[in-house]
Amino acid sequence: MRNDLRRLLDAATTAAREATWLGLRRRRTTALYYVARDGAFEQAISGFDDGVMVEVMVDGRFAYGATPDMSPEGVSRAALSALTAAKAAAGRSIHSFDLSVRPPATARYETSRTRKTSRAPDDVFAFLLNACGALKVSDEIIQTTALVEVGQYDYEIVSTNGADIEQTIHYMGSSLQAVARRGDVVQLRTANGPRGLTRQGGWELLDTDAMIADARRIGLEAVELLGADTCPSGRRTLVLMPDQMMLQIHESVGHPLELDRILGDERNYAGGSFVKAADFGTFQYGSKLMNISYDPTVAGELASYGADEIGNLAKKELLIKDGILVRGLGSLESQARSGLKGVANQRATSWNRPPIDRMANLNLEPGTTSFDAMIGSIEKGILMSSNRSWSIDDYRNKFQFGCEYGRLIEHGKLTKTVRDPNYRGISRTFWRNLSAVGDRSTFAAFGTPNCGKGEPNQVIFVGHASPVCAFDDVEVFGGGK
């Protein structure tokens, strides 16, 4: 092992002899975060984190002790603390687990990178300052912000039954933002919504020429929105670009399919689900065009990995096939509790939180409709892109989402730009009205580092890839008091 975690496992095992099984899960994180605002330095931050979660099993019950003290003594104390917690729960555990939920897996995973050497801070800031300049296309732009975040996560897992896992995730995120004002109208435009541009990879992701061109477009669109009418109210066909499909899939498909929500674990915080255990195999979630996959194997998508954090090897699975719900987003633990089929998705935000059911990469498979054909087939519609608002009920039924940028579709053509576009609906009705799925030429992958869930609370990386999609008969509306 790179960090001699096996030696620490021996120390923990010696300290907690009453445990029938022990596992260690180490997570080391390094990150850099550079921000420019209005063409000047704003922030430069470096971060470092390192620690280990010791997990013990006693009579079918798991408990944990998490510590940043990586000495044998520190890990032994954490093991004893975990042992105390496991013993205290005797007779009150939600399930009696066996070691089938802690497989003795061996896995190695590292993000594929084409450019492994980093760029110097002055080089990165030169780009960020240029990006601010490109965003400021007129005096009506009152604020510009450009951000780059780059980091690395190293995971290691060992256990007394032989798990041996090492994974290294390299990622980069960027954000470009322009705020424009004319009189009382203020509009914000970003590159693909708040933190939507986060991907796995190396420094090749910092494609400065493309990003400068995108910054200019964002600035122009922010100013364009100042003169646009507010989005009209009414029902029409809604076309969503992939950077909004990310949010739509995440909130109205991903979360309701998490088995821990269906089992009730999240009822006190994030919420339950309108999906019931009995729905798997028969429930019509969406139209026949809807095919949703859990796919941790997509190169570059943010939540790709080789194994989850209890050692279950990851592979692609279809969750919704031709509109029918066939599989849930549930880990080995949730599968044991529910008897349902699941995936390898028990993940944690870091060493200081226990893994729970998470989304990973959740994608909508491409269809066959070209973008032009999709728009050409719509008599009365609206296209929306880049998320700016998201809200959904605790069962994941009634949602309301907003976008930064809208364009009306009239008689098969994209016409005028509208500002403050919002839409709302009910998840199953919305997805059953999925009327067109774009072909692979419209397909794009995005990711966000900010999916929140769990008690204690955790944020985690998720990736979502989707083609452009059209939904019939959606209630849309604009802003204003």
Binding site: A40, F41, Q43, A44, I45, S46, F48, D49, G51, E55, R61, F62, A63, Y64, G65, A66, T67, P68, D69, A78, S81, T84, A85, A88, A89, R92, A120, D122, F125, Q143, V179, A180, R181, D184, V185, V186, L188, D265, R267, N268, Y269, G272, N352, R353, S389, W390, S391, D393, D394, Q400, G402, D420, N422, R424, E455, P456, N457, G479, G480, K481
Partner: protein
């Protein structure tokens, strides 16, 4: 051996400040905790364990350069001294490559403070029994947490602050088979089995209101009594695109129209950032103190905004000790005249809102927020509870909810302690009344 966090902070802070070279300045923030978590579902333990952690933030200034470092600490002073020394060395190598910081604000504050609150917490080996046994018979779901939390700050001007508290929180909901639930919590420093049992008894009684036929509302405008718990979700929007000075000047605040006199809140609505409510320290990560009480909105008009030293430097105004994010901390909404006991009578016919869920801006510039009702929201007719409502989406401008449509504010206020645990157990809380609103817009 458990880490003595105070000695640990003194050790790493002293080292970091002593390592500074001539011309260098630094501010040091510190957060630490030792926490026992027990997550439960259906009255049974889902996950339990302990987390011990501490981390240090160092902001360094030299000439016109500014750089921040965040370092997780091991708890072992020898190891951590090496980590901190390495982080400062690395920072020195990077700083010459950064652009100048035009709004560099180096703290000059040199005050000190030391606040420590001991608690009487549960023995760890007894936690499942003491928390879950009294809830027997309930479908009881949520999280118990307890332990010590510390926050500290120091800077090269001489400031040195320490805040330490030992607290517990049972954040729970109790569910009926019909999918309805009552949400509640029991929090404090000194655990009392009797007080906890009393809280659970109140929960059992409240469940009685939910075992009635569900009222399905049509979209439209309804009179609504918004409880302090529900209003706590709205208070988030005082910070997010909120009353920070920078956001107002740079187009991201929802309250630009209010600042420019085009909008106002109700003359019955006032709130302050008030650290006298005693749940979080008044110092920020750079060792700067905020005034104990800072009125933000008085009788519907902005009296002060939240101003960091950086913003103060940028715009030539005065800082009030805010952190860089310019969040409002320890919100205290001024009490009104409506007795809580008269709330249903004053509501007449409408919705009693116990909790909101998943709020977000639907139009920032119009201060318009959308969200859901959740848990035990009730339909009330002529001052009497009829039964639970089917959860509804609402979409309303705060200029209406807290402005033209605000009819009354309760006389009683409730201290709602922070329950978030992202990264760390977070300190803080708000002192809030309930409010009566005439014509809240329900949309779906």
């Amino acid at each position: 051996m458990k880490v003595d966090f105070k000695a640990h902070f003194e050790g790493v802070a002293t080292l970091a400040l002593a390592e500074l070279l001539p011309g260098e300045r630094a501010a040091i923030g510190y957060a630490a905790e030792r926490t026992y978590f027990m997550r439960f579902n259906n009255g049974l333990v889902r996950q339990s364990g302990t987390v011990e952690q501490s981390d240090l933030s160092i902001k360094l200034w030299k000439g016109a350069k500014t750089y921040s470092v965040q370092v997780a600490l091991s708890g072992n002073l020898e190891v951590d001294e090496r980590r901190v020394a390495g982080a400062i060395s690395d920072a020195r190598a990077v700083m010459p490559l950064l652009p100048d910081d035009p709004f560099q604000a180096i703290p000059e504050s040199a005050e000190s403070s030391d606040a420590r609150y001991a608690g009487s917490l549960l023995p760890e080996a007894e936690i499942p029994a003491r928390v879950l046994e009294p809830a027997k018979g309930l479908d009881f779901t949520g999280i118990f947490s307890q332990g010590q939390m510390c926050r500290a700050a120091a800077n090269s001007a001489g400031a040195r602050h320490w805040f330490q508290t030992e607290t517990f929180l049972v954040d729970y909901s109790a569910w009926l088979a019909n999918g309805r639930a009552v949400k509640s919590s029991y929090a404090g420093r000194d655990w009392s089995d009797a007080e906890y049992a009393s809280r659970l008894q109140a929960t059992r009684q409240s469940l009685g209101n939910l075992d009635k036929p569900e009222k399905v509302l049509d979209p439209g405008k309804y009179r609504a009594f918004i409880s302090a718990d529900a209003l706590n979700e709205v208070v988030t929007f005082f910070s997010w695109n909120g009353f920070g000075e920078r956001g107002i000047r740079q187009g991201e605040s929802a309250y630009i129209a209010m600042r420019e006199g085009r909008e106002s809140l109700s003359p019955h609505f006032s709130f302050s950032q008030d650290f006298s409510i005693g749940v979080q320290p008044a110092f920020n990560e750079e060792g700067e103190l905020s005034p104990e009480c800072l009125p933000i909105v008085t009788k519907g008009k902005i009296e002060n905004t939240i101003v960091s030293s950086r913003t103060a430097k940028q715009y030539g105004i005065t800082s009030n000790g805010a952190s860089d994010g310019e969040d409002v901390r320890s919100v205290s909404i001024v009490a009104g005249e409506l007795a809580e006991a008269d709330a249903l009578k004053a509501l007449g016919t409408g919705v009693y809102i116990s909790n909101f869920h998943y709020l977000n801006w639907s139009d920032v510039q119009a201060a318009r927020v959308t969200g859901m009702t959740r848990f035990s929201c009730l339909w009330v007719e002529n001052g009497s509870i009829v039964g639970p409502i089917k959860d509804m989406r609402w979409d309303e401008s705060l200029y209406n909810m807290l402005g033209a449509k605000l009819e009354a504010v309760t006389r009683e206020r409730h201290l709602l302690v922070e329950s978030m645990t992202y990264d760390h157990r977070q300190v803080g809380g708000n002192l809030l009344p309930g409010i009566l609103v005439d014509g809240l817009s329900f949309t779906l």
